[in-house]
Amino acid sequence: MSTCIELKQLQFKWPGAQLPLLSIPELTIARGERVLLRGASGSGKSTLLGLIAGIHTTGAGQVKVLGQDLAGLNQHRRDQLRANEIGYIFQQFNLLPYLSARANVTLACQFAPARRKRLSQQSIEQEAKQLLTRLGLTPEQQQQPSHQLSVGQQQRVAAARALLGSPALIIADEPTSALDQAHRDNFIQLLFEACDAQNTTLLFVTHDATLAPLFPRAIELSEINQGAVADV
């Protein structure tokens, strides 16, 4: 199995900070894996995700995604890689409030030609509809402006957007922290099923240790990170 994410001698320091926030000697995540990354608040989880998503950069060879060294790509190429191969789910406020749920989902293909190509058998609109239906949104709900949906529904729409067009990697940054337990477990289950269907790698970030048993692999950030950990 090929690797999806490969970190080597990662060093990251925010501008103005004294010590590096992240200092990770080694981390490898294979394709199709489902990984939980746990860490305390302020420990640098979101920062690490930003690095993997190509928003922030570090030195050469430190972050490789799908075999590509992000430091070797320019801004535009990194944006493209993210558009085509990474689905990103935030903790909250994932959607553009002025678009309908379905339009928010199809937006995933706006900047991603590769995703559009993978959908070519079916129209983007059709695929988005199926995906949303599978995640439990009725056709009426799909046409509603997204700000009218409940938080749980919004998170499912965000998941659909991340999944549309089968990207190689889904990054979820505490997507369940605004949900109650029942919805949370349900949401994670849906995410698992969808990832299985597309053989998608899932990197799931949380500060909630109780989720660890649900994942085949759980990583403690404090165990792999030798950088300066902000006091919680």
């Binding site: 979101s46 920062t47 995700l49 930003g50 998503a53 928003i55 922030h56 801004q75 535009h76 944006d79 493209q80 993210r82 558009a83 085509n84 990103y88 935030f90 406020f93 994932n94 959607l95 553009l96 409030p97 002025y98 678009l99 339009a103 937006l107 995933a108 706006q110 900047f111 991603a112 957007r161 940054d173």
Partner: protein, 426 residues
């Protein structure tokens, strides 16, 4: 991206509308001022042509111009009938139009003149006057006849055969109405777009009748008109003149090149202090004095446009804060910072384009429905003609300025997008 910008704008349509309206109003103002400025200047220089000299009693050239061509103001000095006769006898004079003013009908100036006006007066590109209905004075036996400018006839709903009463003075409300002398309308002039349209023309002889000058011993002398100061000269004339004094005389020369020489001759006339002006030159000078005002108007409307654009800048900048989340979402799905920058520029462009379009549409609405009112209330003539090249440039300048201005918030958004990445703290 365009659709995205539109959807985002639609989401914030409340505040966006205000911006659009501000830009529309400022565009309307800028175009309106520009149009009034250009068309006024055009109308202005079209008021008279073919007349080589305007002669009046010694006075300022602007005063003489205003009263003889625009029928505005009251000349306090007049020239005598003898001077008029002298002017006619000058070498090279091919035609002459005497004018006596000072009375009004319903606020329209009454100009006492001769049929020479209808034959020789020209305006615009040397266009003569023509009758829409009826004809000149001479075709009638009556003395108390009148020819109306197009505007007067239309506004007062007068036509050939109607009666009208001439009052003394130039105000809308006159204090001494000469009820005894109703005038019969014998002709209505074709529209000219000049002050002629708002004039009431009567024969000189009728003017004498109204003022009691024509019949010196009729006892009508109680009127304390300044015209009557000239009565001492009566015995000099052999045939009784229709009036003793005139406000101005328009002269046409056989050779217009000699106007300058004749002007000097008239200005040094010994019999009476006269002044002769060349209408073209006087119009130009007068327009130059007005241009300061005109430039101030243009400057103000440009400032209003700038205010409108600054308003847009403010709303854009204010919206950035609440839209950081939106930007982060777009970033997460692969939008580059350049896309974020482009989004804001497109947004500003769309807002301005809609504003400018609405403003232009507004201008035409005002011109189509309000031109009448403008003309009546303020005497400003503007027509709903197609956009001139200069106006199109102005509109483009607004669009370009808005786009350039939007680069500032767009740059801010770009910087935010790079700095925030995906971790926006709300």
């Amino acid at each position: 991206m365009f659709k995205l910008a539109l959807a985002s704008l639609w989401n914030r349509r409340g505040s966006v509308w205000l911006t659009v309206i501000a830009i529309a109003v400022s565009t309307l103002l800028l175009l309106g001022v520009e149009r009034i400025r250009v068309q006024t200047q055009e109308n202005f220089s079209n008021t008279i042509s073919g007349t080589d000299l305007i002669v009046g009693a010694r006075t300022g050239s602007t005063e003489l111009l205003l009263s003889s061509v625009f029928h505005i103001g009251n000349l306090s000095n007049t020239l005598s009938w003898q001077s008029y006769e002298h002017l006619q006898s000058l070498p090279g004079v091919s035609w002459h139009i005497p004018m006596a003013m000072g009375d009004s009908v319903h606020g329209y100036p009454v100009i006492a003149t001769t049929d020479a006006l209808f034959e020789n007066f020209k305006y615009g590109n040397k266009r003569p006057l023509s009758f829409a209905a009826g004809g000149a004075f001479a075709e009638q036996n009556e003395v108390t006849v009148a020819v109306l400018g197009a505007e007067v006839a239309r506004e007062r709903q007068l036509s050939v055969g109607s009666d009208l009463i001439v009052a003394h003075g130039t105000g809308e409300i006159s204090f001494s109405q000469h009820d005894a002398h109703p005038f019969q309308v014998v002709g209505v002039l074709e529209r000219t777009g000049t002050p002629i349209d708002r004039g009431v023309f009567i024969p000189l002889t009728a003017q004498g009748l109204v003022h009691g000058e024509y019949l010196p011993d009729s006892g009508a002398e109680e009127h304390s008109h300044d015209h009557e100061h000239e009565h001492e000269n009566e015995n000099v004339v052999t045939t009784e003149p229709p009036v003793y004094t005139l406000s101005a005389v328009l002269l046409g020369l056989e050779n217009p090149a000699l106007a300058l020489r004749l002007q000097r001759t008239i200005n040094t006339y010994r019999g009476e202090a006269l002044s002769a002006i060349m209408p073209g030159l006087a119009l130009q000078n007068f327009w130059r004095t007005l241009s300061l005002f005109e430039r101030a108007l243009v400057a103000i409307s440009i400032l209003v446009v700038i205010t409108g654009l600054l308003g847009m800048l403010t709303t854009l900048l204010a919206s950035l804060r609440e839209r950081r989340r939106e930007m982060a979402v777009l970033r997460s799905i692969g939008a580059g910072p350049i896309t974020i920058l482009g989004l804001l520029v497109v947004e500003a462009f769309v807002v301005t384009l809609v504003g400018v379009t609405l403003g232009t549409a507004g201008l035409y609405t005002v011109l189509l429905f309000g031109a009448e009112l403008l003309q009546q209330q303020m005497g400003i003539q503007v027509s709903a003609s197609v956009l001139t090249l200069r106006e199109i440039y102005l509109l483009l300048a607004i669009l370009v300025a808005a786009t350039l201005l939007s680069l500032f918030p767009a740059w801010r958004a770009y910087r935010n997008a790079l700095a925030d990445g995906l971790t926006v703290k709300l």
